[in-house]
């Protein structure tokens, strides 16, 4: 059976791997910051918890149920932001947003996060890819619940 190029780009090995074996899955307790992300469209719900070391993200975890795109994106996010300063994490959030919407090329090196670019061809899935990042941002801003609607 043949898969289209778009579908292959969306469900790359890295995405499937992080979906099936999500990294940093769970809840930090105690945590310095936490935030919920909720996508009412598909019912995806996740919680991001993190510990700070000064201005740096020392540890970050996520927990929740979601589709392959939102789970993989959350898992990749935890790997990518660990050790980053709050300003660096914010810059990465902006880059990821640009990457998945395809509006403008990201300013920084995206590395493994490049696989998220596959959602560009699937407008309704962009929210899935960005959910965990919104939750991260909200946690860093000491927010609580965010939704992508």
């Amino acid at each position: 059976m043949s898969l289209s190029e778009e579908l292959r780009q969306l469900y790359q090995e890295v995405i499937l791997d992080h979906y099936k074996r999500p990294r940093n899955f769970g809840k930090l307790d105690p945590a310095d910051r936490r935030a919920q992300g909720y996508n009412p469209l598909c019912g995806d719900q996740l919680e991001v918890t993190l510990r700070l070391d000064g201005d740096r993200v020392d540890e970050v975890c996520f927990e929740g149920a979601g589709c392959a795109i939102s789970t993989a994106s959350a898992s990749l996010m935890t790997e990518a932001v660990k050790g980053k300063t709050q300003a660096e994490a914010e810059a990465l959030f902006q880059d990821v947003q640009q990457l998945v919407t395809g509006a403008e090329p990201p300013t920084g090196e995206m590395g493994k996060l490049e696989v998220l670019a596959g959602v560009r061809d699937y407008p309704v899935r962009i929210k899935c890819a960005i959910l965990a990042w919104h939750a991260l941002r909200s946690a860093l801003e000491e927010g609580d619940q965010v939704t992508t609607e």
Binding site: M1, L3, S4, L7, L10, Y11, L16, K20, L41, C42, G43, D44, Q45, A65, G66, C67, A68, I69, T71, Y122, R125, C128
Partner: protein, 419 residues
């Protein structure tokens, strides 16, 4: 030739023929991603037959004007056409009186109208409103808000693991405190057909009124509100192959006449003075403002289209699609069907092991298969079955076995991607 030899065959024109039905729906001829579209999302909104498109176009091209107010030719014709559509809806519902048929925006407005008018004047502190666990959000939230406003209690009859309402629990929940019972005729997320007559009899025994959300029933069979024994019935045009933005609320005359108006404005009044306004008679009392004129006319055409079908053949066709889809899904070992009521309409909700419904939906789309994924605006149902989201393949009269084949091919592709 003598008269005796002229034996006409029985009229074959009415026998249900899915190929002819498909040809009536222009949108189904298109291809998506190099495949013919397999539209399995009719429970969300159905496609429109040419008869509906023609009726709306004719209205705008030939006789459109505002209704019920002009003395001129076009207004008279528009009014006649809209009132003819009302009569068609009456016939479709099996309702006794045409004045009982109110044009609304859709099912959601039908529920809100009754909750805000009948509910506001009949439900008080300590009273109860009874719904079921399988309701769509639109048949939950208006009642919930009414109960909050009035200090009343919302009771919920539970479903079992097949998605069937537990009728003994239901009967226990119908008490002297019950003022209104609001139930879906058919569940949008499970396909369960509720025993409305039995529910209505229980409700009426304690003097409660019965409201039926017919959004999912109207697209599958002409109705008979008298046989159902309900007091209110509402459905959306767009799910019944008519235009979006228009629907029907039917209610018994005595109830409608005693209800305050829902919205106020033009059309629904007889006289307005600054000290007192006199409201119009039913149905106009509930039709404030200029209605969806062409929409109502299009809906009339849709209902006429349905009534002209061979009902038995249509029902058998949908039953066959449901049986075959269920059989083929059960033959796979990675699918769990949500909702296995013995009395069920042609839709299948399911989850796939290890793959989220949204991913299934995206990959099915690749095969040109349109399904709904998510919680289907029935979060309590999803919670009951312990899933956040499901895939729903819903069938309509225009689907055929090629659509079932496409669904199965798509599911094989999901397996290929997720391994």
């Amino acid at each position: 030739m003598s008269e005796a030899t002229v034996q006409l065959p029985p009229p074959a024109a009415k026998a249900f023929d899915v190929r002819k039905v498909r040809a009536d729906f222009p949108i189904l001829a298109q291809w998506i991603r190099e495949r013919p579209v397999a539209f399995l999302d009719s429970a969300a909104s159905a496609q429109k037959p040419r008869a509906v498109l023609d009726a709306e176009r004719e209205c705008y091209e030939e006789y459109y004007a505002n209704v019920h107010r002009g003395v001129h030719h076009l207004s008279v014709r528009s009014t006649q056409a809209m009132e003819a559509a009302r009569e068609t809806a009456r016939e479709f519902l099996g309702a006794p009186r045409v004045e009982e048929v109110i044009f609304v925006r859709g099912t959601t407005e039908g529920v809100n109208l009754v909750a805000a008018t009948w509910g506001r004047t009949h439900v008080g502190e300590g009273d109860e409103v009874l719904i079921t666990e399988l309701e769509h959000h639109s048949n939950i939230v208006p009642w919930q808000m009414l109960c909050e406003d009035k200090g009343a209690v919302l009771r919920v009859a539970p479903i079992d693991d097949r998605g069937v309402v537990d009728m003994s629990a239901f009967a226990d929940l119908v008490t002297e405190r019950t003022k209104i019972v609001a139930v879906a005729h058919i569940s949008n997320s499970l396909g369960t057909l509720n025993p409305v007559r039995e529910m209505a009899d229980l409700a009426h025994a304690v003097g409660a009124v019965v409201f039926v959300d017919g959004a999912q029933a109207a697209p599958h069979t002409p109705l008979d509100v008298e046989a159902l024994g309900c007091d209110f019935y509402t459905f959306s045009g767009h799910k019944a192959f008519g235009p979006s933005g228009v629907g029907i609320l039917w209610g018994k005359t005595a109830l409608l006449e005693a209800m305050p108006p829902y919205q106020t404005g033009g059309e629904m009044i007889l006289t307005v003075r600054f000290d007192k306004t006199e409201f119009n008679v039913i149905p106009h009392k509930f039709e404030a403002g200029t209605p969806s004129i062409a929409g109502a006319i299009g809906l009339g055409a849709a209902l006429r289209y349905l009534m002209d079908l061979d009902r038995a053949g249509w029902a058998a066709h949908e039953a066959e699609l449901l049986a075959e889809t269920t059989r083929r899904l059960e033959a796979r070992n990675d699918i769990r069907i949500i909702g296995t009521a013995p009395q069920k309409s042609a839709l299948v909700s399911f989850v796939m092991d290890g793959v989220h419904a949204h991913d299934v939906g995206t990959i099915l789309d690749e095969e040109g298969v349109a399904v709904r994924t998510g919680h289907h605006c029935a979060q309590p149902v999803m919670e009951h079955f312990g899933v956040a989201a499901s895939v729903r393949a819903s069938f309509a009269l225009y689907n055929d076995m090629s659509d079932v084949d496409a669904l199965m091919r798509g599911l094989d592709k999901v397996t290929e991607v997720f391994g």
